[in-house]
Assembly symmetry: C3
Homo-oligomer: 476 residues x 3
Amino acid sequence: MLGWASTMSETALHPDRLLPAWQPALAIARELYESVADLPIVSPHGHTDPAWFAENEPFANATSLLLTPDHYLLRMLASRGISYDALGVPKKDGSPVAGPRDAWRVFAANIHLFDGTPSRLWLDHSLSWAFGIEEPLSSDNGDAVYDTINARLGEPDLRPLAVLERANVEAIATTEYALDPLEHHRKLKRHGLIGRIRTTYRPDDVTDPDVPGFAGNIAKLAEMTGEDTEKWPGLIEAHRKRRAAFREMGAVATDHGVASAVTADLAERDRQKLLDGALAGTLTPVEAEQFRGQMLTEMAVLSAEDGMVMQIHAGSKRNTDSSLMATRGANLGADIPVPTNYVDGLQPLLARHGNTPGFRLIMFTLDETVYGRELAPMAGYWPALMIGPPWWFFDSSNGIRRYLDAVVETAGFFNLAGFNDDTRALLSIPARHDVWRREICRFLACLVAEHRLSKASAEELAGFMSYQAARDAYRL
Amino acid sequence: MLGWASTMSETALHPDRLLPAWQPALAIARELYESVADLPIVSPHGHTDPAWFAENEPFANATSLLLTPDHYLLRMLASRGISYDALGVPKKDGSPVAGPRDAWRVFAANIHLFDGTPSRLWLDHSLSWAFGIEEPLSSDNGDAVYDTINARLGEPDLRPLAVLERANVEAIATTEYALDPLEHHRKLKRHGLIGRIRTTYRPDDVTDPDVPGFAGNIAKLAEMTGEDTEKWPGLIEAHRKRRAAFREMGAVATDHGVASAVTADLAERDRQKLLDGALAGTLTPVEAEQFRGQMLTEMAVLSAEDGMVMQIHAGSKRNTDSSLMATRGANLGADIPVPTNYVDGLQPLLARHGNTPGFRLIMFTLDETVYGRELAPMAGYWPALMIGPPWWFFDSSNGIRRYLDAVVETAGFFNLAGFNDDTRALLSIPARHDVWRREICRFLACLVAEHRLSKASAEELAGFMSYQAARDAYRL
Amino acid sequence: MLGWASTMSETALHPDRLLPAWQPALAIARELYESVADLPIVSPHGHTDPAWFAENEPFANATSLLLTPDHYLLRMLASRGISYDALGVPKKDGSPVAGPRDAWRVFAANIHLFDGTPSRLWLDHSLSWAFGIEEPLSSDNGDAVYDTINARLGEPDLRPLAVLERANVEAIATTEYALDPLEHHRKLKRHGLIGRIRTTYRPDDVTDPDVPGFAGNIAKLAEMTGEDTEKWPGLIEAHRKRRAAFREMGAVATDHGVASAVTADLAERDRQKLLDGALAGTLTPVEAEQFRGQMLTEMAVLSAEDGMVMQIHAGSKRNTDSSLMATRGANLGADIPVPTNYVDGLQPLLARHGNTPGFRLIMFTLDETVYGRELAPMAGYWPALMIGPPWWFFDSSNGIRRYLDAVVETAGFFNLAGFNDDTRALLSIPARHDVWRREICRFLACLVAEHRLSKASAEELAGFMSYQAARDAYRL
């Protein structure tokens, strides 16, 4: 192995990073970026842990803060033959794994693997922003960086709520399952923090019959709501109640993680039959998809009623490595995108509520081929539809460029839902929003430089896409 | 809502618009563009109304000229919750909708929705080119612009034929169904205008068994041609006669709008069976697709015989909003692209005529993933195949860039069919050809700037792609 | 037809060709390119003829060297109506075709068809590099160029081994079927040339039941190895022996050309049943795919055992023009890409060996939509997986740009297998590696110019991607 230089020293956090590297576009982009760099952050979809904000305890160490919860980092290291043991990822059976300092050393020694990836940009930004560390992480300084971070973590300005404050986060949404008791949010409510921090209703635990323990979950839902959830009307009524409970904890949106965008609009009798099969565990894969599809339509019906914005995150094949799933669990990097078909998939739902005033559905995909072929033409016609920002692997500079290239001409800017960071990593929030804002300014600056958009419009759109679009889309 | 500036005042119709915004590519592109900007327009595929040219009456008002017939505009406004009523789109039941001035006001007040879209470029170009209106449309000037346009519409240079003359349109094709009596074209023929204005044979009304009234159409075709169209040989003979009749009205091409590119080459007996089923209305969806596929192959056989250039526009799922279809009809914005498979689809047709000298088939798609994977490799092998320009949602600056990026390296320039505007909006014709020419010059200039193409070749190719390629492809 | 200028005279082999045409990226790219331009060539996958190197005879003439074996050239000329007869491509029935000089004239007269294509770049580079011909080929100089080439071909520095030497080829792999006796490689071994020249184990002749003569091939495999290849364990043992024999001739890799990436991991009994059906010629298309899929998994098992790197080239629909196949044979331009699904396809194989230390599988595709959606996420997780360079139609400047754009952010640089030229055309080897290196330097320079990567990292990555990555990936 060569001695990889892998240093960003000349470039880490250059003020012009990501902006067009030629004139006159650079000058225009700089001006646009300056006008949006300090806008508040609105993050209406994400996976931060509400316990952080409810408890507001300091983070334990650099590894548990920055490495172990970040599946982007874990997966890339694993792909080069580094074991999850060496990265300190706990095992279900409790057998020992590397300690945090050793795991950090492995990370630091392999930092070159992230050259050219968004992870590298986010990390450099986080280290600088939160810890004042400007020297890029490397084998040489790994231990020193680890110690610096750990020393700083106890300080008040690095507690979770202080981080939100410092990052100028106006609103952030967490994501909880339907059966979640929302205890942390209750505490946040007592502290007057609902509004800045909000939950999101993600009922996959009771809408996906392939979830382990599905029948038990449906029973639990009955307990929580006092409804007969083994009957379809009772099941829907139970959702209605849980949605209301989530709204009390600030929820403005629901979210649905599904492998495909298939929806259904079946007769009452057929729905009950599916529910019976789901409870009995006898559904075929096609029937299970129908069940999920019917539930999506039911969620649309409820959204049309209660005004919660519906989100569909379609197209992730989860847990493709069964050995990893068996030994350590989910969300560690083995989820892989699959093709999605939104145009056929959403047809039943749209026939029902595509034109219903007040109903809104934001679509996310991991299949970039649907940006131009499906999402933009659909959002550019149906009043109900908006396009979410690029998701997961595509929440990156080039990913954002391909997205804007593919959607804006057909859907315009005003059918886009702005940005959300979708992150589990607290410190990456300012970094991710910064990348989005830079890319938006880059895109607009190129339009201006090519005389396709006036400077004045670009200025308004830069602010809109950086901040207001997310507020509008999620009705904040 | 912010007070959207949405003004192109600094930039509308900048002489360098769309050209590369950096040197030396800009200088090269400017020189190329100057050499092609004033070439005549050849538009061998489109949907202008032949009655305009046959009657040569003035247009009624700004709204019926520019807004109501433009599904790009209607769909985008609808997507933001503006009703088709408010846009003045007539209802089948005749119930009242907004008048033209009110509809125009709604349009002007929402013009910001088109920032970054090709519609905006086309509109600005049309207003300047036809009416001398250089100030961008806005809420503020909406009424004044409306009045200016209406005042000008009565003048002789804005009659349809004068528009063709002023736009330097050398040849334009309209599109008529097989059963169309071609009355307007007859009148045009009497005026010596066939040649500049031509029809195109689009027999979807008698080749698609899913068309409402299909059996009646087949009966009507029998009447028109004196053939027994309930028997396969008679049906083909009837097509042969209609094709000849269309050729007398200048037709050089046929066109086929199909959801998939599936073709078939069945035994005589199986064809008759499909026809029987189509007439009886008993075909399954798979059989209906087979019928359409067989008809495509028959059209290829006839094209090999009579030299008419065949066009396939595949991949639009029509009328996805059944409520819009029921209340107002087709072509109003609810058609959405679907994936297309040209490589398997065309196999039977190509086995028959892929190598037949004189047979030519031009392929169009709404699925950009097939540009590089299917269309370019296929056109770069089969003598019969050419690739049409980017279609519909992709007839835009970025759409053209992605197209050229994906097809030229594999198919070269000489398997491309040049440009056609495919428009229903007369005044957008010069605008659309101008965008194509600018993008061609941009692409060539970048190749020259990267030393991948000589300046001399770029000059020849700029002219070829702007004008001669369409003439050659359609044998004009 | 216009008199196409089609001259690259101003630009052929400009020192900055393909590099970014704007500053400061150009200056950075130049510096990076200078540091890698003269690195040795490592080409671990390709289709050069081992007889060339074993016999080291001079090539016969310009046409048989440059035109007739190059399906990129043949197909494009054919697509514009030029017959394979006129191009001198032999017919199976031995009937006469054009002689080499006449074929060359046709080629020269149509050289403009290759404007904007990689073929043009490769040809210009080859003519300059091998023959000192700087004037671009044209109608005018076609005969003179032909004579110049022929005159030079007899000189010692244009013999095959001298070409390798002059091109600084450190290692090149040929590709042989399992039943190949490897005679040429034996001769090379006697001359001490194994190492610089290596074979590759491509057992499609005994793993694809759709290959004509499959049962006979299996019988021949039994003869060569002394194993009972009609029984599954014997068949596998026979592969084990052939792989060892290939390794003695320098093989470090296997290669598998399959239409889909489907793999299987069936029970022993089911495997034998498939083998029985394959030998009897009774497999359905689905069963034949299962057989191929099972064989891929078996190859993975053997690779995990013997360390040979496995390659899958998936997604070419072969011989789509049956008339060409019947009259002249395969590999002449009628192979067309089809969609590929790697994520579902590889699941059984990965469940078996995705995490096995030492097992490595390099994936190639002709479906660019899988770069970002499947290949990069998969290679960025599974230790076993790497992504091969852009293949066939996509081994071009824009093809490489789209590839790097789509894969690097998710898979990083270190899950990429560097470059291989995959060529049948000896003289195109330096040209193709040069294009790759220029594009790598362009990509890195743009990252540096946008402050996304340090200059020092870019310098290391330029060398790595140009040379070391291929060595590492193939364990050379």
